[in-house]
């Protein structure tokens, strides 16, 4: 009798447990969906930047670490093949990170005085995420490069 009771109790709890798991996983999935809402934000930003311009082939080298141990100081450097003459130069370079609270990281404005197109800085990354580089040329064309960085410790202080 006691066994039956216990058995029954266990059965119910297991069923309950399965239900709970199902429900919680559904919640979890929707939660993840909410977090991923940052990604359309980035694509919106990129679309804003490149609206009305055509893509072009360009040699873009985005130098970021594959794994960043500390998200507070992540080196980001880039080099773009360009003659940097008055008629053909890289005008703007945007760096964006899709997992940060605000996707924009920096915007570099080059001029023909630069001679070559490279620069570097350091950024904060809150978690493992994709980093995008959007280069805009003076003739209105653009080029997009992307790289994934694994972050061990996030750098947003939260």
């Amino acid at each position: 009798m006691i066994r039956k009771k216990i058995g029954g109790f266990v059965n119910i709890s297991r069923r309950k447990a399965i239900k709970m798991i199902a429900v919680s996983s559904a919640f979890f999935c929707s939660g993840v969906g909410g977090v991923l809402a940052g990604k359309p934000e980035v694509s919106d930003q990129i679309n804003n930047v490149i609206s009305g311009s055509q893509a072009r082939e360009a040699d873009v080298f985005l130098d970021v670490p594959e794994i960043a141990e500390n998200g507070n100081q992540v080196k980001v450097a880039f080099e773009i093949e360009s003659p940097m003459s008055a008629s053909d130069f890289v005008q703007e370079v945007y760096i964006m990170a899709d997992g940060n609270p605000a996707p924009n990281v920096a915007k570099f404005n080059f001029t023909p005085y630069s001679g070559e197109c490279f620069a570097s800085t350091r950024m904060r990354l809150s978690k493992t995420q994709d980093v995008y580089l959007v280069a805009k040329f003076n003739d209105g064309t653009h080029s997009i490069t992307q790289s994934t960085i694994k972050v061990t410790i996030g750098g947003c202080g939260g």
Binding site: A106, N109, T111, E116, S120
Partner: protein, 108 residues
């Protein structure tokens, strides 16, 4: 609080048509507006939001910085030497404060 102090490393001399790399660093906390202090109060946003580099009065390079840039922002950028002159580097902080640095460059 540590004093905000800009620094730059520019070669003193360069050859004509040489592309030099200029390295700059400014000591600045870059409060992103998301970090809380020990009392649980949010530290208000205070960042360097713009970096300008001019050479003999001409703008050669600028950067718009966002809160995602690390504290003590480091920026390096290229410059093609065409003439002698002076670099004027300026960092603009939220609220309008400016930090400036001038360095001269000789052509050999």
């Amino acid at each position: 609080m540590s004093k905000i102090k800009p620094r730059a490393k520019i070669p003193k001399e360069a050859e004509l048509d040489e592309v030099i790399e200029i390295k700059t660093l400014i000591r600045h906390p870059m409060h992103s507006g998301r970090v809380k202090d020990v009392n649980g109060k949010t530290i208000p946003r205070l960042i360097i939001n713009k970096f300008n580099a001019t050479f003999n009065g001409k703008v050669v390079f600028t950067v718009n910085l966002e809160p995602s840039i690390s504290s003590n922002p480091y920026i390096s950028f290229p410059f093609k030497v065409k003439e002698e002159g002076t670099f004027e580097l300026s960092w603009e902080e939220d609220g309008g404060n400016q930090y400036k640095l001038t360095k001269s460059l000789k052509v050999v």
